[in-house]
């Protein structure tokens, strides 16, 4: 690229960052009459300082967090607030059950696809009798069922539950969201069958054929209807940060998905550029905002303390919106794409450290002061683990976009491990935490078994460590071996073998955790949980469990 291009790119970059800084400053300092003063209006009187979920009897509460003030008696306003929350939750019961139950179903399915694909990498002769069982079909089946089945459906389910909570209104048009879940499921079924039977579109993250794409677009559009209806009827002036992420995700995803699926829009190298523009944006502009919306809601909700800084929330959101959409081309570093295009993606990838740092300080400062709650609250422990892994995955992703690092890690299992740190460690953990909070409120019953939650947590977190750490090491060694011109290619394959074996063990533990979670979820859904004042927590006294 010429000096003139570099100058224009750098100037554009600085001008847009400057504009963004101005926007954030204006919002943070009330220049649009929508700032912090409005933010305080969403408190109900008497709310500040109330003790935290996961609900416990007064004694247990005291144990969980002894520094907080003693419990206050209900005022009339409080009683009205509780009633309003209960009505809000009741209004989302049916659609939330649909979206979440479907997501858990796809989680189990997707895990099994992933397990088989993983084992095939160290037992290549296993299950090769039929084309439908080969790696080339099961791996995309895994990707698409976990991305569009589990992750997207869980995210929409959590979003649908959050809507009336955030807007302080009952959900309007919940039926549209329910219909959306049914149609979305049909899309995922069609798409998965198409992939397994060899009718894939052939581009990563876009394997579903157009018939399935149409169903996803229609299902997603239907799920957005109640969001808009409830937004118009909202009873809050200030939109809390979770609402920004949720609204943005539901606007961004259809734009990305439809653009990327327009047939024959581009060919050749340009098609690859569009492909990766989409594939990375689906993480950053769809899954990430859904999970951050949940984390921004559940962390302060459970610890019972406000988020540390409104200014940081603004930076985290707007910097994500500005920087993320350009990062995808770092998947084509060293490829036939012009230097200037790849360079933009690298700069933007590294800039993602700014919103990530802002979100990390906001989340971790809020949790750090109440860390003892991690011992008790399933929601907080899962969500916090997810928030920590968001920081790690994002910083790692920025590092991987640097050409020097990418030269080693590209085309290796290192990238696969990184992808799982993002979508599993970060995203899925936050969704698990959210589901643990939501289900008792929509079913009216507590989770049936507190030990099942512990088993789920330890299986998935230990399983994930066993998956992630060896696979990252193996991927790095694979990359170094491929770069060594003196070594034959086959050596780079063989060097990964023990690490791939460890990955299957870790994946097995995770899958086992999902089976425990799915069984527990079914028990909760079928009304087997107790009706009692206390929430189901990691640690419970015998008397509480029996009651």
């Amino acid at each position: 690229m010429t000096l003139a291009i570099a100058f224009l790119l750098a100037a554009t970059f600085v001008i847009s960052v400057g504009g963004l800084a101005l926007l954030i400053w204006a919002l943070a300092n009330d220049q649009f009459q929508m700032g912090q003063q409005a933010a305080r209006t969403i408190f109900s009187s008497g709310e500040i300082g109330r003790v935290e979920d996961p609900g416990a009897a007064p004694t247990a509460r005291a144990r969980m967090q002894d520094e907080r003030e003693p419990e206050q008696a209900d005022s009339d306003e409080d009683a009205a607030e509780f009633e309003a929350r209960a009505r809000a939750d009741a209004s989302t019961r049916v659609p939330v059950n649909w979206w979440l139950a479907s997501s858990v179903f796809w989680l189990v399915f997707g895990s099994i696809f992933g397990m088989i694909a993983s084992v095939k990498l160290h037992l290549p002769d296993w299950l090769v009798q039929d084309a439908a069982l080969t790696f080339g079909r099961l791996r995309p089946a895994h990707l698409n069922t976990v991305a569009y089945g589990w992750a997207s459906m869980a995210g929409v389910g959590v979003g649908v539950w959050l809507i009336p909570r955030l807007f302080k209104t009952e959900m309007l048009g919940g039926r549209f969201a329910t219909a959306g879940a049914i149609i979305w499921n049909i899309g995922v079924i069609i798409g998965t069958v198409a992939i397994v039977t060899g009718h894939s579109d052939g581009m990563e993250w876009l394997e579903f054929p157009w018939q399935a794409d149409v169903a996803l677009v229609a299902g997603g559009a239907l799920a957005t209807v109640p969001l808009i209806l409830s937004l118009l009827k909202r009873r809050v002036q200030h939109l809390y940060v979770s609402s920004w992420y949720l609204l943005a995700a539901l606007v961004w995803f259809p734009m990305l998905f439809i653009t990327a699926n327009i047939p024959n829009l581009f060919g050749g190298v340009e098609q690859a550029m569009l492909n990766w523009w989409y594939a990375h944006n689906v993480l950053g502009l769809w899954l990430t905002p859904l999970a951050l919306a949940a984390a921004y809601y559940f962390i302060p909700k459970v610890v019972g303390a406000p988020i540390y800084s409104y200014g940081l929330s603004l930076i985290g959101f707007w910097a994500l919106a500005l920087f993320y959409s350009q990062v995808g081309l770092h998947h084509l570093i060293g490829g036939p794409v012009p230097t200037w295009a790849v360079t933009i993606s690298i700069v933007h990838s590294v800039m993602m450290c700014i919103p990530v740092l802002a979100v990390a300080v906001n989340h971790h400062m809020t949790v750090a002061r109440h860390w003892r709650l991690l011992i008790y609250s399933p929601t907080l422990r899962f969500v916090t683990a997810g928030a920590v892994m968001y920081t790690l995955a994002s910083v790692q992703g920025s590092m991987e976009s640097l050409r020097a690092v990418n030269t080693v890690t590209h085309f290796t299992h290192y990238t696969v491990a990184h992808a799982h740190l993002g979508v599993y460690g970060f995203y899925s953990f936050i969704m698990f935490g959210a589901i643990y909070f939501i289900m008792p409120r929509v079913t009216g019953r507590e989770w049936p078994n507190h030990r099942a939650i512990s088993v789920h947590f330890w299986l998935v977190i230990v399983g994930f460590a066993v998956y992630f750490i060896p696979l990252s090491i193996g991927g790095w060694l694979q990359g170094l071996t491929m770069l060594d011109a003196a070594k034959p290619f086959m050596e780079s394959v063989l060097v990964t073998k023990p690490y791939l074996l460890a990955r299957s063990v870790g994946g097995g533990l995770m899958t086992l955790g999902h089976l425990v979670f799915a069984t527990h979820f079914l028990m909760a859904l079928s009304g087997q949980g107790a009706i009692r004042a206390q929430a189901t927590r990691f640690r419970m006294r015998r008397a509480e469990v029996a009651s």
């Binding site: 790119l9 600085v14 507590e446």
Partner: protein, 194 residues
């Protein structure tokens, strides 16, 4: 169920989340400015790479006076279809060994490589229906070397083709856009000597 029972899960929650107005911590601001300065600097780190090549790639510069090994050019560009033994694949890719298109008119042969063929062509008594890509991106010397190679291998014994012949061939059909439409169009442009 009493109202207290019905709302018990909702009662034990903390307030709806909100945010404090703490200022952005100064280390965060400093780090952010540091990143932005890095980004500005990094754009200028990428000056000098050719605009039309791939990411940080340079276009290959070929010395026109260099001599080329026709067998290497053949292995890299031709052998995938015409095979290492020059016999092609029966019914799909025509042979070069004993092919009249290779052995007879050398100007016509140069044109086949420069523009490619799309359509029906009869080679050694068998009719093929296929596509041959064009190779104008190869240097004159490379084309001359590979043509001389295929005219002298696998029992072929035709004269070598000079670099000058390829150079002249490039000027011959300046308006041509797209491949030759099968053997028929080639025969029209180069009437067979009879």
């Amino acid at each position: 169920m009493s109202p207290k029972d019905r709302t018990r899960a909702q009662r034990r929650e903390a307030q709806e989340p909100t945010e404090l107005s703490n200022p952005v911590p100064w280390p965060v601001a400093v780090i952010a400015v540091g990143f932005i300065l890095w980004g500005f600097w990094y754009y200028f780190q990428n000056v000098g790479y050719p605009a039309m090549a791939g990411d940080r790639r340079s276009a290959i510069v070929i010395d026109p006076s260099a001599s080329f090994d026709g067998s290497v050019v053949y292995a890299g560009n031709c052998a995938a279809c015409h095979q290492g033994n020059g016999k092609g694949l029966a019914g799909v890719f025509p042979p070069l060994a004993g092919s009249e298109w290779v052995l007879e008119n050398e100007d016509r042969l140069v044109q086949i490589l420069l523009h490619g063929i799309n359509g029906e062509i009869e080679v050694a008594g068998v009719t093929y229906q296929g596509v041959m890509p064009a190779f104008p991106q190869l240097a004159d010397g490379e084309l001359a070397a590979v043509l001389s190679f295929i005219r002298s291998e696998w029992g072929n014994t035709a004269t070598p083709i000079a670099t000058a012949a390829v150079e002249a061939g490039r000027q011959r059909f300046p308006d041509r856009d797209g491949p030759w439409q099968g053997g028929a169009e080639l025969n029209e442009a180069f009437p067979p000597e009879s």
